[in-house]
Symmetry: C2
């Protein structure tokens, strides 16, 4: 595709996503992007550090570039209800390839909802984007390839959903050497997509890293994912896999009870890594204090990786073609 | 005001601004926020440095947090036309007070336009926000104080405009000890606002820092502001001053001829400071190369400091009350 198509598609994609969210009652929040470790996703080792060579200090606190606005949104759900943020997510990813960026746009939502309600919200956003793009194409406002237009037109309103366990079973049947607890690589996600007719696909109920501490499992997830009460050893999380883009949305129901959350935080791999970096519980104090003082409500949320959704819209396997200013280790401007 | 009012006002303000921009044909661009010094405003000494303690390097380039997306937008004007970006601007400001944040939201626009056209665009955005807020208030979607509602209702469609020279004259008449070339402090901006009936006020045609190198002038402006062809020693720039918020928009027509821009860059104070920090022309190479190779068109642009517009909407002199997660040296979370 041309750079002009990439520019037009990105602008339209955000516009449709935002209009949909606003029509569904989501309130936009501007979350901080320079943060303590409470702005980290599961892997604190890909946090960028922020400093100033001049007179500036944060009174000794180490500061990072945010990977997610999740906790800042979560903090507002009890009083505001449905909230969202849009902006950059930063990862110190060394890879210079077609799948990794050091900076990419995410739209994140949090809402008072159970897990099934969350999945419907995700479908709603993705379908609104697909329909909006097709409608813009038909109105002559932007140009999609015939293949992209057909793909987006055929996007179902409800996406197929398989559990992680089912995914492992299907992969084993196709001859893959994979066992329960292993990460599902992007190549294997692609196999699953083929199996389900190249439509958006949810993989749900991933292994709970806190389930069995005696056993090493590779699937590492954010510490406050809610354990599935009906399905021992799994969390109520889901990844949405898209053709071309691969894993485009990570989502979960959240733990909202203070002592459960604190226990999961303290026992997480992320926290062990944070300690090794010189961090501590202090990094999360603002959130855990608030949770202990005010409580929260059952809620759930997700992050839409917009560059991967753009890959799906544009039909490209190279993330660098899907964004206007691709950022990786080789492209600092 | 309550935190809920701040949240609702910020969300509505951005929604109205974006809808207005889109209806006026602006295309949203996502600009990089981790950048070389080409993401700096005039003062490179308030750039945050970005690093990673791990395996990650940018092949030796120093990376910073962007203060502005201006050059990235400028690069697209020749092919895309009207463009805008929205997102965080970062400043290593040590002050912990009611006027400074280390991170705040900006909406920036660039368009093929002359200076007068630019000022009309700025009026259009600010008026669209004011009307949108009043309309939301009247529809019961959010609550403004009576004072805020009245102020926004009375916002004129065209704002008074005075030149910098006229501003200095008025201040001298009121007994201020100020001379041509001095910066106009926020306290003095407030005096000018009182003088013009507490309506949004443009101060235009600031001194050109490149006009007379023999003389030290304190007004420091971005290096690519276009010299006023009719008014020697001034640049075609304007600041919009708002009640409560103070300087809320910085704007200028841009130099778009490669050799003029390079000359102004090399002779700027910003560049001297950058050299002192270990930077070089390399930091701007991607932009100057493009300008030399492809040329550009006459264009102009500005940055809307959204927290200061929120102060105006909410009627507060404390910027920390105007945003949902205020970031300063004392508030890292």
């Amino acid at each position: 595709m041309s750079r002009k198509e990439t520019i037009a598609a990105n602008a339209a994609m955000f516009s449709h996503a935002r209009r949909h969210l606003e029509s569904e009652g989501y309130v936009e929040i501007h979350v901080p992007r320079v943060v303590r470790a409470s702005g980290a996703c599961e892997n604190v080792n890909t946090l960028f550090e922020v400093s100033s060579g001049k007179d500036f200090t944060w009174f000794g606190s180490q500061s990072y570039l945010a990977q997610t606005g999740q906790l800042y949104l979560e903090a507002l759900v009890p009083t505001v209800g449905r909230v969202y943020c849009a902006g950059p997510s930063f990862r110190a990813e060394g890879a210079i390839d077609n799948r990794h960026l050091t900076e990419f746009q995410m739209i994140e939502i949090e809402l008072p909802s159970d897990f099934d309600g969350l999945l419907r919200e995700i479908e709603g956003v993705v379908v609104a984007i697909a329909r909006g793009m097709v409608s813009d194409h038909e109105a002559g406002k932007l140009t999609l390839s015939d293949e992209s237009n057909a793909r987006l037109k055929e996007c179902p309103q409800v996406f197929p959903k398989i559990t992680y366990d089912e995914a492992i079973g299907i992969l084993k049947e196709t001859g893959e050497r994979i066992k329960w607890g292993d990460d599902i690589s992007s190549a294997r996600e692609k196999m699953l997509l083929e199996h389900f007719g190249k439509k958006p696909l949810f993989i749900t109920r991933y292994p709970d890293p806190h389930w069995d501490h005696g056993r090493e499992i590779e699937v590492e997830k954010f510490f406050n994912m809610l354990p599935d009460p009906e399905y021992k050893g799994r969390v109520l999380s889901a990844d949405l896999i898209l053709p071309y883009g691969g894993e485009a949305v990570g989502s979960a129901a959240r733990v909202h009870v203070a002592d459960v959350m604190l226990s999961r935080l303290k026992n997480s791999r992320m926290f062990k890594r944070l300690l090794a970096l010189g961090g501590s519980l202090e990094d999360f104090r603002w959130y855990t204090d608030m949770l202990e003082k005010n409580g929260s409500v059952p809620h759930a949320g997700c992050g839409f990786g917009m560059a991967r959704i753009a890959q799906w819209i544009l039909g490209t396997t190279d993330i660098r073609e899907a964004v206007v200013f691709p950022s990786n280790r080789a492209s600092l401007i």
